[in-house]
Structure formats: C-alpha cells, structure tokens
C-alpha cells in the first residue's frame, strides 16, 4: 500500500489539539527539537522507504503550491 493522503485519523480535531498541546510552553528551539524527534519516531514506525520518500515529496510539493487567494 502506498502513501495514504486521504483522511485516516479518527477525531482529527482531537489529534490536532494533542499535537499543539505537546508544544505548550516550549521555546521555538525546544519545539523544533520535539518536531525532529517526532518525525524520526514516525518515520521509523513507517519504515517503508518508498512511503517515506513519497511523504517527503508530498510535503515539499505542498510548499511549492501557491497559497489560494
């Protein structure tokens, strides 16, 4: 199975809340470090190199797309 870019998290609002809560009270430097640790933990969990590669591309492409006006 390839990279899933369709909704896949139950209770998306709840997850988003938890993600932000994890950064509560952190400085930008601490937040960057937390994000890096999180990326590495999730990447290891996924493991599949092709999915990881696709995820990197998907993330980069999203930035390349101009913001909707």
């Amino acid at each position: 199975m390839g990279l899933n870019l369709s909704p896949n998290i139950s209770d998306p609002d709840g997850f988003y809340d938890e993600l932000l809560a994890a950064h509560d009270g952190l400085t930008d430097v601490q937040s960057d470090a937390l994000n890096a640790r999180l990326i590495l933990i999730l990447a290891n969990h996924i493991g599949d190199r092709q999915i990881l590669r696709d995820a990197l591309s998907a993330a980069k492409e999203a930035q390349a797309t101009p913001d909707p006006v």
């Binding site: 960057d32 470090a33 890096a36 640790r37 990326i39 590495l40 933990i41 290891n44």
Partner: protein
C-alpha cells in the same frame, strides 16, 4: 632542498647512486612513484609475480607520526597474501567494541566482533610507520628470493612526459638529474600528488570546514581497548566531538574536533594540548595519569577524487586519486585495495597475457569503490559536523532518541568503518549462475572460512583459482598462458565449522567459483564446463567483453 620535507621514523632505503644515473635513460616495465603503503603494496605484489618494478621515493624511509591507525580485515588479508600480514596482526591492537557517548551518557555501543571463522580480526590499530615498515620488510624478503624490485630513495620525480609507447620521468637526486623510461607509471605520491599536478589533472570535491586536533599520548592507563567517541564531550575545551582509541606501545589516539575558525599555531602549543588532554583523561579516570605527548597534529579534510584514475600509461592509486575524511578508516584501507586491484592486471598486461584495456577496469572498479567510500565518509562527516541549523536539530534529535530507543542507534554515525567494495555489475564480472549467498556474489571479495587445515583465503595465493565445492573442478583446455589453480573442497571433509557451506553454498548442493588473483569472485555456477570457465576468465582479463 628537494625531497626532505618530513622527519623519518625509519630510514629504510637510503640514497645510493646507481649506474643508471650516468647512462642514457633506462627502460622499466613499471615505475611506482611514492613509497608509502600503497606504492609498496603495488611494488611488492608485482615483484612477487615476477614483473620488474622500480619504486622512486622522495625520502629515504617512512615518515614520523602515527597517522593512519585503523587497518581493516580486508587490508590484513591482502597483506597476508603479500607476506606482511602476520607481522601486522602480531604488533597491532585488536579491537571490536566501540562506545558512543553524548555528553556524559553512553548512548550506543557496537561490536565489530566478526562472525567466527575468519583468520583475521575485523580491525587492528597500528601506527602507520609500522604498517609501512612491515611492507618494506616483506619486499626485502621477496627481493632476497629474487623478486625483481628496487627502491631508490631521495629520487624526486620532477618531470613527466607521456609518449606513444612509454612515459619518461625526469628525476632529481643528490648527484644531479637523470631520467627513466617506463611502460607504465603508478602514481602513489599522496594527496598532494606532484604527478597529478604535473599532468594538470583536477582533483575536485567537497572541503569540510573543520579542524581536528590529534594528540597521541603515551601512558599506562587502564582504559579498555575500545573505540570511545563523544558527541558534545563533557570535558572542557574538547570541541564538538572527541575520540579515544588505543594503539600499540601504550599509545592512545585522542582526537578533538575544534571547529573552523581556530588559530592553528596556538592550538598546537603543547601546554594548550595538555590542558585539553588533562581535562579529558581526568573526567574519565578521576585523576590525570602520567603521560607524554608522542605526536600532535591538526588536520582538515576533503572528500574528493580524480574523475579518472587512469590517464594513458599513468595510473593513480591511493590518496593521489581519492581522499576521504578519516571517519571510517577508508583512506589507507581503500588505497591498499587499489594496489590489490591494480597489481595483477598490470602484471598480465606487462607480460602480454592480457590487453592494455584490462587497465581500464582498474579505473572502473576503483572509481566505483571511491564513490562508495566518499559517500560513507561524507555522510559520517555531515552527522559529525551538521552544516545547517536544521541538520543540527535532526542530529541532536537522533542522539537524544538513541539514549532511550534502539531504533535511533543505527542512525548515530561516528564513522562507518571500512568494508571492501563489491564490484556489482561491472565489466569484468561473469555469470552468477548459482542461487548462492549474497556475500559471495560475483564481484565480492572471497569471504574467509576455516578449512580442515588452515583458512580458505590462504589457499588463494594470487593466481586465478577454480574453487570447486562438492564437485570435481573441470580441467581447462586453454587458459591463454595465465596460471590457474584448482581447489577442490568437500563440505563433508574440509568444512569443520560449516562456514564454507553457509558462505559459499547457501541452499545449493554444489558450486564452482572462479576467483580472480585479487580474491574477488569473477563468476560462479552450480554446474560449469571448462568452456564456461574459460569464457569467464577471458572476460575477467578483458580478452573479450
């Protein structure tokens, strides 16, 4: 004066005037320029094969300073074939365990302990002057047995002209200039290669903006024989990383990563070095042990290679052709593998048994190996010296995760230690018609295994070999004048530990391997006729494509 830029550890080939200096330029089949580890390995290999070789070195022996200290199993296997391996293993410090620290905390430990059944250890630490001396000793021994080699010390090559059918070298000596002619020249004259400069060839790559301080100290210390590496060391003034590693003669290599903007002269002041070393040792031992500073140096490094290692009749080998960072012990070790790859090919070409195009495969194979070494070395360096804020964030994330979670430990990169290159899919490779183990696929160096008597690699003495396991080796009709030895082994009687079957058969019942003179596998089959083997040999010698 020309040719005396460093102090010698051993004077091994003092300048002596030879008759050729008063004669017209004499011809030599092979001239090796540079008597370091790579040059001597090429010369020794050629001479043992009976091809005459002249080594020109700008000094009279081996330079001081421990320099390269980590020698890999593959290097020791090559040295064993050349007759220098026992001395090296006998003198060297065998080590297997490496520990990685982040600050005060140990975050990772690795064990290079090889699987059982290899004659040589994974690594030894040995000061480079010993390594070089043992090679020259082996060359002297070979000369005494009529191997056609000659070393001329204080012979500085000052000019090179490549002609249609030879190379002319201009040489400066204490008695004035003379010239020699060579069918082939092997340039083993180091990272600053004067020959490369003379030929106007480029040497491109990445410069890493960092300085490393080496302090080799002599002390009786109770530290274990392990490689200790610190990221963000907890001791004062140690820089961003530090290394502690044992060598013979109670010498310890200590390495500090100092960063880019430093005052080299100030950092080399012995009081300043002692302050750093004191802080490091006392943090580990609880006190400052007595020690002497044996050798100190500050180095920077680059990862780069020549685009082509072969330029007509001039072949570049070792540091003259490629340079890597020291993390991974891929400098001297890869240079010795260059020598191993080149010598048998030059020998066959000089003897007229293989076409000159065989030497193109030297470039093909060793450029491929250099890319692999540079890739590994660059990755290690990027981990040690993050190049941007974000790369440092990720590096530190890996280090902090590695303390707690095993998954992050393989990402910790304090150097990926040298392993030999597998020449996958390159021109000389023949058929792989055995569903056999990956580690002995075509292009790989033979993996050692215990036999009933001795070890497999000891039986592969530098000729083409047919290794027939559980099947009789076919008799070759015509090998084109090239010596081939047959080795018939049975896993019933010759495989006391079962390693031979695991490493060479896998699930197969029988196998025939064609092994090159450098112990790399040229082809393998479950069943092969003499014709199959002869065809693979012609391919391995560039007699057909």
């Amino acid at each position: 004066m020309i040719g005396a830029s460093y102090q010698l550890a051993y004077t091994l080939y003092p300048y002596k005037k030879v008759a050729a200096q008063d004669q017209s330029a004499q011809s030599h089949p092979v001239v090796v320029v540079g008597g370091g580890p790579v040059g001597i390995a090429v010369a020794l290999d050629l001479a043992k094969r009976g091809t005459a070789v002249l080594v020109l070195d700008d000094h009279e022996g081996v330079g001081q300073g421990s320099r390269a200290i980590c020698f890999s199993k593959r290097t020791l296997e090559i040295a064993a074939r050349l007759g220098a391996g026992c001395d090296m293993v006998g003198k060297g410090v065998v080590w297997n365990v490496g520990k990685v620290f982040h600050g005060n905390d140990r975050i990772f430990q690795f064990n290079l302990l090889p699987e059982e059944g290899h004659k040589n250890p994974a690594f030894i630490n040995l000061q480079q002057p010993y390594f070089e001396k043992f090679l020259v000793d082996a060359l002297r021994k070979a000369q005494a047995e009529d191997a056609p080699a000659e070393i001329r010390g204080r012979n500085v090559v000052t000019g090179l002209a490549q002609k249609e059918d030879h190379v002319r070298l201009e040489i400066e000596t204490p008695d004035g200039p003379y010239a020699v002619l060579a069918d082939y020249v092997v340039a083993c004259d180091g990272a600053r290669s004067p020959l490369r400069e003379m030929m106007g060839l480029r040497f491109d790559g990445r410069v890493f903006e960092d300085n490393f301080l080496i302090a080799d100290v002599k002390m009786k210390a109770a530290f274990p024989t392990e490689r200790w590496f610190w990221f963000d060391p907890p001791f004062e003034g140690s820089g961003q990383s530090a290394l502690l590693h044992k060598q013979p003669d109670d010498i310890w290599r200590i390495d500090f990563q100092l960063g880019w903007d430093i005052d080299r002269a100030a950092e080399l002041d012995s009081d300043r070095i002692r302050a750093r070393v004191d802080a490091m040792l006392s943090s580990q031992a609880g006190y400052v042990p007595d020690y002497e500073l044996e050798w100190t140096s500050i180095y920077t490094f680059q990862c780069r290679r020549m685009e082509k290692f072969r330029h007509g009749r001039v072949l570049f080998a070792g540091d003259s052709a490629h340079q890597v960072s020291p993390f991974g012990a891929r400098g001297a070790n890869s240079g010795v593998q260059d020598a191993d790859n080149l010598a048998w090919k030059l020998d066959l070409v000089v003897k007229g048994l293989a076409p000159d195009t065989l030497l193109d495969s030297y470039g093909e194979e060793r450029e491929y190996a250099a890319d692999e070494n540079i890739l590994n070395s660059t990755r290690a360096t990027d981990f040690l010296t993050p190049k941007s804020r974000t790369s440092k964030v990720f590096r530190d994330a890996v280090l902090s995760l590695a303390r707690r979670y095993p998954f992050a430990r393989p990402m910790v990169n304090s150097g990926r230690l040298s392993v030999p290159c597998v020449y996958d899919g390159l021109s000389l490779g023949g058929p792989d018609s055995l569903k056999g183990p990956a580690q002995t696929r075509v292009g790989a160096p033979c993996v050692d295994a215990p036999l009933d008597c001795g070890y497999l690699l000891d039986a592969l003495t530098g000729h083409f070999a047919i290794l027939a396991i559980n099947t009789p080796p076919p008799s070759l009709g015509d090998s084109g004048g090239i010596k081939v030895v047959s080795i018939a082994l049975s896993t019933e009687t010759d495989d006391p530990t079962g390693a031979l079957a695991v490493r060479y058969l896998g699930d197969a019942k029988q196998a025939i391997y064609l092994v090159r003179p450098d112990q790399h596998i040229a082809a393998r089959w479950a069943y092969a006729t003499a014709g199959d083997i002869e065809a693979a040999m012609r391919k391995a010698c560039a007699l057909e494509t």
